[in-house]
């Protein structure tokens, strides 16, 4: 089952690469740099998905005290931080040729960076509490606070930036993009979602083995 998921994920990623590099055309205004989009935008999606899962799993843990929910929250937060980091890095690399600087306080980059430090704090908290049960409880509370904070971060950063300049990627507007680019993007979305599921199930399994080894 796990093999199968891994295989399908790998196939999806390869298909995404083929779509992004071979089939999708060179974008008119940005040129080849636009191809980073097939990596950058699905990464953001996975990050938001992961943090949403953290919220749900945290609530379930506090209600039911199921350790599986706690492990899911932990695994999902870790994978989410990984993809948030990737989003920031690829966004920065994309920014250099488009804006002429590695870093600008663009709305999306800024809000993703805030999420990055927020959930890095979440992982830090988990690492610092030795008592497993208490760590799970505190992390669940923090996971809930952080998730409710996401829309606040989004709006505040949006207004903070838009008073000076429109954010570059806030509204990708699929309507304005050629269908073939949308199709390539969708394939990559699917592949990254599979990758997320694959990583989280494996990570949760490792966490379970760790808990068993300790017990």
């Amino acid at each position: 089952m796990r093999r199968l998921l891994g295989g399908v994920t790998l196939a999806g990623l390869v298909a995404g690469l083929v779509m992004g590099f071979a089939i999708a055309p060179r974008e008119a205004t940005q040129g080849n740099v636009q191809r980073i989009m097939y990596l950058h935008v699905p990464s953001v999606w996975v990050a938001y998905l992961a943090f949403g899962v953290v919220l749900v799993a945290s609530v379930v843990y506090l209600m039911r005290r199921a350790e599986a929910a706690d492990r899911l929250a932990h695994a999902s937060a870790e994978v989410g931080v990984l993809f948030t980091g990737l989003t920031i890095a690829t966004g920065s690399i994309w920014g250099k040729p488009t804006w002429g600087a590695w870093w600008t306080w663009d709305a999306r980059l800024t809000s993703v960076s805030i999420l990055f430090v927020m959930y890095l704090g979440y992982l830090l908290l988990r690492g610092m509490i030795e008592d497993r049960e208490r760590g799970a409880r505190f992390a669940a509370v923090l996971g809930i606070v952080a998730a409710f904070n996401v829309p606040l971060v989004h709006f505040s950063v949006y207004w903070w930036r838009t008073l000076h300049q429109p954010p570059s990627l806030m509204k990708p507007g699929p309507g304005t993009m050629p269908d073939i680019i949308v199709a390539a993007l969708l394939v990559n979305f699917a592949a990254f979602t599979l990758l997320y599921v694959y990583f989280v199930t494996r990570r949760a399994r490792v966490l379970r083995l760790e808990a068993e080894a300790e017990a």
């Binding site: 927020m118 890095l120 830090l124 505190f138 606070v145 606040l152 505040s156 207004w159």
Partner: protein, 216 residues
């Protein structure tokens, strides 16, 4: 709970005195770091003001449960009968009063040192400060309870709190900037709404989850 805390606070007075001194030091540090150029300081004033509030707030909030911890009353908190959210509301109210007191002092000091005409902008400024402080204190109180029993809590507390408060900081600094420039509150209504939403969300989450933090 509120009265008990305030009583303890008033009796000792140590926190308030130390925080007042800390605020004064912050002003010196800001001055030394940015130089005596009044023009340049004026532009950064809203940011400096909130930096001062946040830094002193971190110290004040971090001490929320210090009395319980040092006097071995933690067990008492955990075993307290009834609804734990009452403890949260009590601690939050205490923190709120403490922070507002420090902020009032800091504001007067800022007005004095940076030659601000506070009288005209005070009503608007008070609204912004009140909304922002509730947001700071609501999350701060919750996190203080979480980190109270963790090693390296002095480090973990700000590391957890600062990212979460990022939207509050953006909103308050922008709103303060506008108010200091003499604009009406209506022109920053979107920021005030965001702060109000943050206050509601943070306090609600705090009340609902505090039970789980203080579980025996």
């Amino acid at each position: 709970m509120v009265w008990k805390d305030l009583l303890v606070e008033r009796r000792s007075k140590e926190t308030l005195n130390a925080l007042f001194f800390f605020g004064l030091l912050l002003l010196f540090v800001f001055q030394f770091a940015l130089g005596p150029d009044r023009e340049r300081l004026a532009g950064t004033l809203p940011g400096l003001l909130w930096l001062g509030f946040i830094l002193s707030g971190l110290l004040a909030l971090g001490r929320t449960f210090v009395v319980e911890r040092e006097n071995d009353c933690w067990e008492g908190l955990l075993l307290a009968p009834g609804d734990k959210s009452a403890i949260y509301v009590g601690k939050l109210a205490g923190n709120l009063l403490l922070m507002l007191a420090i902020e009032a002092i800091l504001l007067v000091l800022f007005g004095f040192f940076f030659n601000l005409d506070l009288a005209n902008v005070l009503p608007g400024l008070a609204v912004v400060i009140a909304l922002g402080t509730v947001a700071l204190a609501a999350v701060g109180t919750l996190f203080a309870a979480m980190t109270a029993q963790v090693r390296a809590r002095e480090l973990l507390f700000p590391v957890l709190l600062l990212p979460v408060e990022a939207p509050v900081l953006l909103a308050t600094v922008k709103a303060t900037e506008a108010v200091l420039l003499g604009e009406t509150l209506g022109s920053v209504a979107h920021w005030l709404k965001l702060l109000a939403a943050a206050d509601v969300v943070y306090v609600a989450v705090g009340v609902l989850t505090f039970d789980f933090v203080l579980e025996a």
